[in-house]
Amino acid sequence: MTSATVSHSESAAASPVLAGQNRIRLLGLIFSVVFFAIATKLAITSAIAPVSEPPGEVVAAAGRIPRPDIVDRNGNVLATDVAVASLYADPRKILDIDEAVELITAALPDIDAKMLDTRLRQPGRAFIWLKRQVSPEERDTVFNLGIPGVAYVNERRRVYPQGRLAAQTLGYVDVDNRGIAGIERYLDDAGAIYTASLLEPGKDKAAPAELALDIRVQHALTDELQMAMTKFKAIAAGGIVMNVETGEIVALTSLPDYNPNAEEKKIGRDQQNRMLSGVYELGSVIKAVTFSMAFDYGVVTMESKFDARTPLVIGSARINDFHAQRRVLALPEVFTYSSNIGTAKMALEVGVERHKAFLERVGLLDKLTTEVPETARPLLPKRWGRLVSATAAFGHGFAVQPLQGLNVVAGLLNGGKMLQPTFLKRSKEEADVLARQIVREETSAHMRELFRLNATDGSAAKADVIGYRVGGKTGTAEKVVNGRYSSLKSLATFIGAFPMEKPKYALIVMLDEPQATPETFGFATSGWNAVPTAGKIIARIAPILGIDPVFTAADREKLAKQAKEKKQG
């Protein structure tokens, strides 16, 4: 360019040279302006403007929402995902199907050669699963066969490190990691919003779902129930421990259970969660509801007396007592002797309509729902008359899920504050907002007194672990066999709470068809099986739950006597 300008200036006249120079200057000017603009922009973006991430994080919406881990209230892992490989094949790319079938079945003996052959020969198929969720060794063996068209993808598999522990509560997932039952199902269905709230924004990770469960309590409960089930040859057993102040379910067991890690879980009717999806007549335990009702309507006082000398006759039906005393009973005696006559009379004094209204108020007419979807509606008498009201008062013809029974009793004992039970962690403050007053504080105080009395002097004495101030009510309901109450098959229940002066935890223990043993002197009623089991459970869990034992002078004497007996025995 320079040489061209020089040659121009030599050959051409002055004015054209000047014009050429002007043009060059103009060009230069334009260039420098443009370059200056670029340089300025460069300087601004690189040096002056702060280095920032691209605005608005790219949403990690590519995959599904990752399944959160499930942990107990202390952070122990109950369910988690681990990476596993799944082997697949693209039949179009396999050159020699016969050879491939031979090699694959040699490496994975549990695959049927014939089936695989037909599946690989399906025309037009581009993808078939060879085997889902294989071990790393199997993955390597098959992959190293080097068959074209055979490969693997990494998948996630749900594992339950605690095994059988709390299996029914947790539920399980299918091979595609979709929740099928229990909390796992809740995380996908009803609790999808809760699950989404666990997600860490912008990351492919989720915080664990924290349950109210405590594995130590859960294990103690399961262990004792398992032993009781064997000892009394019961066909099933179950129990729940609940925090009375927050409605949190700290432990829930239903036996027989299953192993959630097994491929074939063998979940039949027996393995269902009886505590939620079964309804049972809780028998005399329901009397607690009738007593609270009578107190709350002001129909009776602690000083009331009931004539239990003769059976109560309503129409053609006669109501009799199991532990008949044949005398006039004071109100606390009606409770401790579990008198059907006295309780029925109480209900009759309240009246049918008010009886129904009270059951409605404590929620016994409606289905109780929690996070776990498998729940059953209570089974109630269809037509209410005087007789139905009188028999329902002591629990006949009145079947509820055990959790609902426990929840109502907990509400009656904790000062009348009814809570929706939950499997998720809940604080006291949250619970206070949700609480619903069902009976007066005064009624609740009376109930606490009666429950405690029943444990010191009544049918629940074997559950009174010295120092923990247990209170409870027992129930032995005859089971309905072919539409009639059977005197041979029964359901033994205990509902209790501790420490009774201000209950913190309530529990229910249930044994289905317990048998009499020599040790129980031929009795199969609740006081001989469910109650001592509850006592053992309380003795184990109370220290874990941080309940301080308190001893009276009488307790000390009892303890000293026990220690002496132990030494001699």
């Binding site: 320079t2 881990d69 122990n76 892992v77 109950l78 988690t80 995902d81 681990v82 990476a83 594992v159 490190p161 605690q162 095994g163 522990l165 594995i215 130590r216 859960q218 294990h219 103690a220 262990d223 672990v465 010295i466 120092g467 923990y468 003795a539 184990r540 109370a542 220290p543 301080d548 034992p549 001893f551 303890l559």
Partner: protein, 116 residues
């Protein structure tokens, strides 16, 4: 003069090009490093999860109970073993009677020694 300026420009252009290339090369290296680190993080996360699951499985109460029953001479705490501070003085005798002779004191320590 112009020649010199052009020369400088050419050299600058070459140097700038070389620098740019070097920078890009370095960036790619760093990007690769980031990718490797990210994968390592993911792998470690996976390992942590697996170990967490294993830990949870090994510390399940059922197993601990079995091991404790086999190897330790301890039993679940009973209510009367709890003593509040203000009644400690009056219970000292009782407590001394409960504590077994020195030989059996360090059960866990003995067990660990045996294992070594």
């Amino acid at each position: 003069m112009l020649k010199l300026a052009n020369g400088v420009l050419v050299v600058t252009a070459l140097v700038a090009g070389a620098l740019l290339y070097a920078l890009e090369h370095k960036t790619r290296g760093l990007e690769r490093e980031i990718a490797v680190t990210k994968r390592a993080i993911a792998d470690t996360d996976e390992d942590i999860k697996l170990l967490g699951a294993e830990w949870s499985s090994l510390t399940r109460p059922e197993r601990i109970q079995k091991l404790a029953a086999q190897n330790l001479q301890l039993a679940p705490a009973q209510a009367d073993q709890y003593v509040s501070l203000n009644e400690l003085q009056s219970r000292m005798e009782d407590i001394r009677a409960r504590v077994k002779p020195d030989k059996e004191q360090d059960v866990i320590g003995d067990l660990l020694q045996k294992m070594q």
